[in-house]
Assembly symmetry: C2
Amino acid sequence: MLGKDYEGQFCTLASALEVVGERWTLLVLRDAFYGVRRFSDFAVHLDIPRAVLSERLRSLVEHGVLERREDPERAGRHVYELTNAGRALWPALHALLRWGERFRSPRRHFAHAACGTRLDEHGACPACGKLPGPEDVQTRLAPGARSGRDDRVSLALSEPHRLLQPLA
Amino acid sequence: MLGKDYEGQFCTLASALEVVGERWTLLVLRDAFYGVRRFSDFAVHLDIPRAVLSERLRSLVEHGVLERREDPERAGRHVYELTNAGRALWPALHALLRWGERFRSPRRHFAHAACGTRLDEHGACPACGKLPGPEDVQTRLAPGARSGRDDRVSLALSEPHRLLQPLA
């Protein structure tokens, strides 16, 4: 009854949660939007057991949300990149982030990269009236926010960063 | 490491998932948007152990997403209703539904109640250009979809229904 599926729930939401509802999965996807692509970078930033991370990545690849391909820079290694289906999760991820910002803790802002205006709660740019895709969104820490982490991904993300741009 | 919190994750998304990321929680909230208010109605529709449902409702009340109050019609019983913070989860829920609809299984549509136009993936009405709140959204089964369930909540929701309107 509390397994991985939502058996008996005839529901579009349940079918989405079967893909992204498992613990840590949305944080893996968040990192993919931030430009994390390598297993070792997900691992240092998420700080979860490698077996759990492996399982989440495998499941996301299986469901067509991430693509696993040869690392062009390191023979024998792989990188994980968002597919079109994965990128289409941006509105959901952004809406959850905005909710967290409003009712929990504001730590990171998202702005339309072209004009620097913060996105509204629906992911639209109030200045241009456009709905930028993740590739046109820039993220930065909220004023006064500090991550308190010193892994290489957190350090890279302490500077403004355009989504989907691979981290150096 | 895999407990309820996301310790060490300095992140707005993690803080949101600490409230809504537990298994079944978003389905409980979905039902609240559909107008389910009573424990027994959540129970027949979600089909989960009552102890799990109790725990999820308790946690959502504790986090200020649901409010528990006296049932005006049944002495000694309670109803659960979305608070403002709970209603503010609508864009996130809708975005996940739209993603599930596009990449998993289309089963339910959401339209602007005033004009009948289906909402776009960001929850806006393409006809009016408005961003209706959940109280101005109507849900109906997708054409050809049938729930295959016969509990009283599923039966009520087989007809078009305005969100947040208590189920009869």
